[in-house]
Symmetry: C2
Subunit: 356 residues, 2 copies
DNA sequence: GCGCATCGCTTAATCGTTTTCGTATTATCA
DNA sequence: TGATAATACGAAAACGATTAAGCGATGCGC
């Protein structure tokens, strides 16, 4: 490990001079600077981050919180894509990403905040966790620049996918396709679920849709089995819906299965829409119509905001950034307008009809 | 940020004593140790990792290389699950995970190795990257304890999914279901592809299967469009296969689509098998029969090996660890034994038959 | 020629730890 | 009692960088 001292010895200058030359400070002669930089290059010098950190209190490292009880968000398409984009964004600016955790084999369990302070993270991004745990509250109050994803704390920057607009767009899309009997299987209770559900009701009202209570069901996120059951329940109604909205794309596939098991077809017999826009949804037939959240943009905005907070703490606004999604039009929602030569009919003609 | 100096002042001892007390060294009085630890607790002390690192040359931080040109492995189910497991494993032992990258906004681009040395990683896991780049070679030769996933370097520990056994099991499974005309769409050239392909040929030979050249096709990993085309090509053969093996599960779904577009059904008309065992494959009907790789075990073994290398460099074997997968039996492969009351027939009866 | 900036570099302190070596105190034993 | 050993603690150097302050040399205006 060649250090500045080694370079200073070789070049016959002091370490201070080396430091300044390498950091491109102004009070070093041109020629000296060149000599030093060349020597550093030749000797294979690279700065010791720990020493730099100790001295400057800057780590150029941001912590990312990404824990869930049972599974880490890594295995969740939505979060993984956001993280991927976040990673690119901060790396381009010279920051590294380290996962925040709570283990400490040698000293026993530590809190998230202690972990972050120990590591000297310049900032933290809270992407996926149980936002209601007191430890998280302690963390966001800890004074380290912080950005959260899809959750709002007082006085903390947040980047949120626009769930209100998203649900509005999705329901409106379905409405415009002629659907009047729309069921919504929503996810387990959370801030996100609340927004979507409220938006669903509001939009339904605006569109003049009347939604019977039995059309609103609950199924935990990403639980295909449960979505299957709820779908069956809806299909068994005296007056089943013509379209079902799901908490997420995974669940929508659970719906596909139930519908198929009943000998029905998507979208010919019943329409389905998901939420998220995970990759696979575009590769399975019938491709899923879903509200595609802009994960690339979400991650980018989290990263940019965080770095702004770090580098310009005074002038950076504490704000909530809202990122829009859009309806990805697959072919899981049929156009059922009166007499419409709809896709379902076209398909039926093409493939030949069977059951029902 | 309360430091040891603060504690020493409060307790009326030297910082050396504080350090020893906190590190549970033997040459400190019982009572003093208690006092110091209590004070540290009350004052909210936590060690400054940078200072510790500088002094001890240990970071308790491992670097993970996880880059691909176009997408990071994060968005890839297989790698994401491995990383998830790796993360748990090392965190339990008190290590953090930081992504290795190659940006350095302030000093220009750096090599992977420089980045690792700068950060002082105790070890590195190379999970997903272009193993043939010279920079990777430089990295693994850099003298930092290293474990690679699914790639073999000289004198470097590796954890490998058993592709030979995997393909053997999968093909044998398909054979046992009665299939004699088996096509294999393999992935783009790589060590992994080579193993699987070789194993495919060898196993076919052992089973007495003759595989016409036209049954062997190539399609890049996870490219559903390409898999679609290749599937079409196979279906257009004078004598199409009864079963198609795909490079991965994503591609298999591309196959599903082609088969469906032809008005055929999986598995009634043609059987399909994937590779990987990504989560969604178990939630789409017909559920995909696939070689499920044991991502949890793979990640765990990478983590354990790496920490052993770090903590016991002398006594830890440089070896290749092979992890077995297993055939996950979905219902995408039909039993086509002569006269078998197979699932396909059952399904046909149940659902009612249509086209073809 | 004198005062004063400017330039280019050095000295030395500092960040928060760890660790070696030394020393004062007490205990042990012949 | 005096020598020795064990115990408990402190002083100080070191890790590798940054940075404020200082200082000699040069150039410039008057």
């Amino acid at each position: 490990m060649v250090s500045m001292k080694d370079i200073s010895a070789v070049c016959g200058v002091s370490v201070a001079t080396v430091s300044k030359a390498l950091n491109d400070q102004s009070d070093i002669g041109k020629e000296t600077k060149r000599r030093i930089r060349q020597a550093a290059e030749e000797m294979g010098y690279f700065p010791n981050t720990a020493a730099k950190m100790l001295k400057t209190n800057r780590s150029y490292n941001v912590g990312v919180l990404f824990n869930h009880e049972d599974y880490s968000g890594l295995t969740h398409d939505y979060y993984a894509f956001v993280l991927d984009s976040l990673k690119r964004t901060v790396e381009e600016k010279g920051y590294d990403i380290t996962f925040i955790n709570t283990y400490k084999a040698r000293t026993g369990r530590t809190s998230y905040l202690e972990h972050c302070r120990s590591r000297g993270f310049d900032g933290i991004a809270i992407v996926c966790t149980d936002f209601y745990s007191p430890e998280i509250l302690q963390l966001v109050m800890g004074g380290i620049p912080t950005v959260t994803l899809d959750h709002l704390f007082n006085n903390v920057c947040a980047v949120m996918s626009n769930n209100v607009k998203g649900m509005e767009d999705l329901l409106t899309y379905v409405y415009n396709k002629g659907h009047r009997k729309v069921a919504y299987i929503h996810g387990a209770d959370s801030a996100v679920t609340q927004s979507r559900l409220a938006s669903f009701y509001r939009t339904a009202g605006q569109l003049g849709l009347s939604i019977p209570d039995e059309y609103i069901r609950m199924s935990p996120y990403r639980d295909t089995k449960s979505a299957y059951r709820e779908t069956m329940w809806l299909l068994n109604l005296k007056e089943p819906p013509t379209c079902i909205l799901y908490p997420d794309d995974f669940s929508a596939f659970g719906g596909y299965n139930a519908i198929q098991a009943r000998g029905l077809r998507v979208p010919d017999d019943i329409s389905v829409a998901g939420y998220d826009g995970i990759r696979i949804a575009r590769h399975i037939e019938p491709t899923l119509t879903t509200l595609r959240q802009d994960t690339a943009e979400l991650g980018r905005r989290v990263g940019e905001k965080l770095i702004n907070l770090i580098e310009h703490p005074k002038t950076t606004l504490i704000e909530t950034i809202v990122v829009e999604g859009h309806v990805f039009e697959g072919n899981s929602v049929a156009d059922i307008h009166e007499g419409a030569e709809d896709t379902a009919a076209k398909r039926r003609k093409h493939v030949g009809t069977d059951s029902i």
